[in-house]
Symmetry: D2
């Protein structure tokens, strides 16, 4: 299993009339989590895409236990539990500064070859980097 | 069961670098779906909130089958399948102008009394309006 | 001068902690205004782009007189005052249902040839459609 | 004059079909700039608001010279040039990692007493902190 942590601060523009982070804006928090997780593995998402592979999101599941509030500095804990195939699953936990678990989520993304627009296998180098990480 | 349909057009600001509607922006499409569904029942969401009841989202699940594209005029089909208790579940289907099913989703929202910030039962008048609708 | 009106309803996701529409989300309202204005002239923005011309925004100016609130049904009045050259200027007024002027804004967009990524002249057919409109 | 710098990375959800950061999403970048500038002065915006003063944006002007692109790590340089009265003006410059000036902007915000919803003077302690900063 690969685990990575990064932080994101809730912006005013991400709050809603209740003073909570709007439920749709969490998608960007999860995006930050997985992009920084991939970067830490040596695979900036931008490079994956520049090499002709896209990673559209196929499934999203979120459970909002407690609201994230304006100016909260959230910790995003991102996990890759299984080796990617044509799919890669990321699991997320959001915690506030007091360490309270606010949100649990997961996303399934599909590797798509931009030339053919067909699903394709995960880049071999990414699989290899994860294999090394899992072996640790 | 209660079914309601409305439309929403994908804005440029909702597209991403792939030319797809960004996966997080669908949350606003579902919001439009349930808000217009409630309005058609005589319960503008704003009024529910002005009467002291909030409806934060507790769970979100989305399956993205095909991407929604820039300027697509999407039909949002919103269903309420079960009578609300302290929770209300909405199921959504997004279809493009060709009638292709792009996305399926559901959200679970919790009725919260703003005075106590505790879960509370759905407003009786909303339950009654749904009961009449289900009986049809 | 060409004038066009359309409407947009303020979504919950567009409100902020003050209960106002977030100042950055107005950009999408103005986008809706100019896109529908162009569509009414027979030039869906998508088609302009599909024909190889992009229209990035070069300047934006907004004066927020009164806040737009959750669920407000806003009228967007969009004006094209001068014939487009390599630039096109749109002026906007946002009004609420009571007819109160909430916001005034303008955007300057530049026609860019996607093949060369250089500024280019407005499509002749668009200029012609505007000329006919101005002559009315 | 008070100058502050912070950074923000362009998210995928902030890009559009051109691959540029959407023109409306810059508003959040400027928000990050001024919020972090105020925090560095000892005035987290959240605290200002919790003490009963709101700061809605009254004017926004942006000039987009070059597009910010996906994954760009932007420097936001925020300046307060004049002492705040009932208004405070922030000027912004966005630069990419190569130091290229992408965007110039300014926002005028108004101090509003939440109890009366009337404009009010800037908190004395903030004025004093800026006075010390200007004197340096």
């Amino acid at each position: 299993m690969f685990v990575h942590e990064t932080t994101v601060r809730v912006r005013y523009g991400e709050t809603d009339r209740m003073g909570y982070a709007y439920y749709g804006d969490y998608a960007e928090f999860f995006e930050v989590g997985r992009v920084e997780a991939l970067r830490s593995l040596g695979f900036p998402y931008k490079r994956i895409e520049d090499e002709g592979v896209m990673l559209p999101v196929h499934e999203l599941t979120v459970r909002y236990h407690q609201p994230a509030l304006y100016d909260d500095l959230l910790t995003i804990r991102t996990r890759i539990i299984a080796m990617p195939t044509v799919r890669i699953v990321f699991a997320y936990e959001l915690l506030n500064e007091a360490g309270v678990l606010l949100t649990e989520a997961s996303t399934t993304l599909v590797f798509v070859d931009r030339a053919t627009m067909r699903p394709c296998r995960a880049p071999a180098a990414l699989v290899e980097a994860l294999r090394r990480s899992f072996a640790r």
